[in-house]
């Protein structure tokens, strides 16, 4: 899975309703090419006859993007796409900018399904003064959290990185706090064997 797809997957998992699946960005890219979306939306999806798609994930929810694809309003053509194809396209579109053009930071987790620990990389549109990450998991009645780590900037001041630890497998949420704001990054940890 490439960087863009990873970003997209993490965003989608966060924003999609329960039961919806995250799409396959590579399949989405093939569909977007096959249907010639850039004919109207621009070679770099910067907009043209149709709206700008770059950074669309910052302006519309995944469900809204999916609805626009599956139930297009003229002059956007109806390509009679299935729900699976639509999810793939939404995933691809959400990763087009790698978070670079949006107003929100975009986080990636590597590996995508970590066992005990993972590298968290956050791309900030505006470099923050300070950033921390804390992995937490909500259980039946109570929550648990692992260690809080301080993220450090890489050679690119927009990109910050840190290693997050998980004490067990399951659905974790890494809460990134930066300059008084927070963002949630969902992580599915496989857990130590």
């Amino acid at each position: 899975m490439n960087y863009a797809a990873l970003v997209a997957a993490s965003i989608l998992i966060a924003s999609m309703p329960a039961g919806a699946r995250a799409g396959d960005a590579a399949a989405g890219e093939r569909l977007v090419r096959a249907y010639g979306c850039f004919g109207c939306h621009g070679a770099r999806f910067e907009g043209g006859a149709g709206p700008k798609l770059l950074g669309i994930e910052h302006r519309r929810s995944a469900a809204e993007i999916a609805d626009a694809v599956m139930h297009p309003k003229a002059p956007m053509p109806d390509f009679a796409l299935s729900a699976t194809q639509t999810a793939d396209i939404v995933t691809y579109l959400a990763g087009l900018d790698g978070g670079r053009s949006g107003s929100s930071p975009v986080a990636t987790i590597s590996p995508a399904t970590p066992r005990a620990q993972a590298t968290l990389t956050v791309h900030f549109p505006t470099p923050p003064k300070h950033a921390t990450a804390e992995a937490g998991m909500t259980m039946a009645q109570s929550g648990m959290s692992a260690s809080k780590v301080t993220l450090t900037p890489t050679s690119d001041p927009h990109v910050w990185r840190g290693v997050v630890h998980f004490s067990m497998g399951g659905s974790w949420t890494v809460v990134v706090t930066y300059d008084g704001k927070t963002m949630n990054v969902p992580v599915r940890a496989s857990g130590a064997e």
């Binding site: 010639g36 109207c40 006859a49 297009p72 309003k73 003229a74 002059p75 053509p77 109806d78 390509f79």
Partner: protein
Amino acid sequence: MRRDAFLRASAAGMLAQAFPCAGRAAATEVVEYSLTAAPLAFSPVRGASFAGLAYNGTIPGPLLRVVHGQRLRVHYRNRAATETAVHWHGMILPNAMDGAAGVTQPPVPDGGTYLYEFAPGPAGTRWYHDHTMGTGMGGPRGLFGMIVVEDPRDEPADAEFAVVLHDVPDLRSVSAALHGSSNAAMVDPPGSAEMRAMRADDRMGDEVAYLAHCINGGAYPHATPLRVRVGQHVRLRILNASPTQTRYLRLAGHRLHVTHADGNALDRPLDVDALRIGVAERYDAWFEVRGPGSWLLQSVSMDPLAFQQALVVQTPGMERAAPLGVAQTLDGIDFFTYERAAGIATNPVQPGRAHVDEHLILAGRYGSSRWTINGRTWPDTEKIAVARGDRVVLRFTNTTAMHHPMHLHGHTFRITEVNGRRLARPLAKDVALVDPHGGTLAWEFDATSPAGRWLLHCHNDVHMVDGMMTEVVYR
């Protein structure tokens, strides 16, 4: 009958409208048109400003219509600030009326006039366009239009539309291509690994970069819809007026019933999913409107399958509906080819001996400024001398990586062989694609046109200007 006033009044919207039902005129009647070429600032898409040239103020130029048997008289005025001449593509006509500047007539200077008068024929979908070889670039800038020579024997259609596919080039890239300094991406066949790997911003699989891709003067979604009604049998007269691009055309939700190639009736009509249309080719294709709906008429280039020309075909009440579209793929799509239309001969008959039998090797390197026939460029190419009544066979071999739509002025030829296979029912045309990478094509025709010099050239404007042209000369 003078149609000048009518043309001036309605030229802007005319192409997209259903053709008026022209009455059958007396065979001796003269139809007169005034045609003026002049600059036009053309903005088919937001942000694209194009220094166009237009006939009577529209790109494409006005649709001209005559009934076979009538005479056509065109009062041509050049106000284009560059030399021009009007070529009547697909017509068999006196050589002096052919409009090849510098060959059959002097170029018409800015401010000058020329009177074109002839009996248009053969019947069918034909076109007219600028034919100068200089730097004016009249064709790429917008000097083209369709002329229909109505065939009284044709089955009447419930509705009929002109569909002119055209592209708006970046004129600097045309200039660069002519000088052999194009840095456009390589051309790959559809479905190739290279093509699949291409990104959206690598779309320039052509020597020329384009600002917009249009049908009837508009880029999607600004092209005027074709309005049809349930139950109608609709005839499309389709012309590819692009300077360089081969197109594949589909109508979502429909198959196309192809009846004419370059205006000439096929021996057997052919039903296809898609048309392949080389530069300057025309096809007449029909479809039946079986129910209410809104569908995209989509035209894509093969290099790569990305440039989209489109307009909407819709029934009343469907104006707000999202039009049904289809993927831009040729996978599993049966499209029109010469072999499919004409069939492959199972027991090829050895053709009779021709009086003239020439082999023309088409060569040139992608991105170069030198495109040759038998190693030479126009005007130094070997000319093909014929005598009246000769049976002439021309055999082409394309050694290049690009299509060459080869066009012969003033004649209708019959394609007899495609890529080494003899056709069962030779296909009557006036321009034909020679496939890249060693593709071959054989034509035959009888030298029965009016005497004179008839150009034979690649209709890719870059290749033509860069030398891929010769002529058939009547001795």
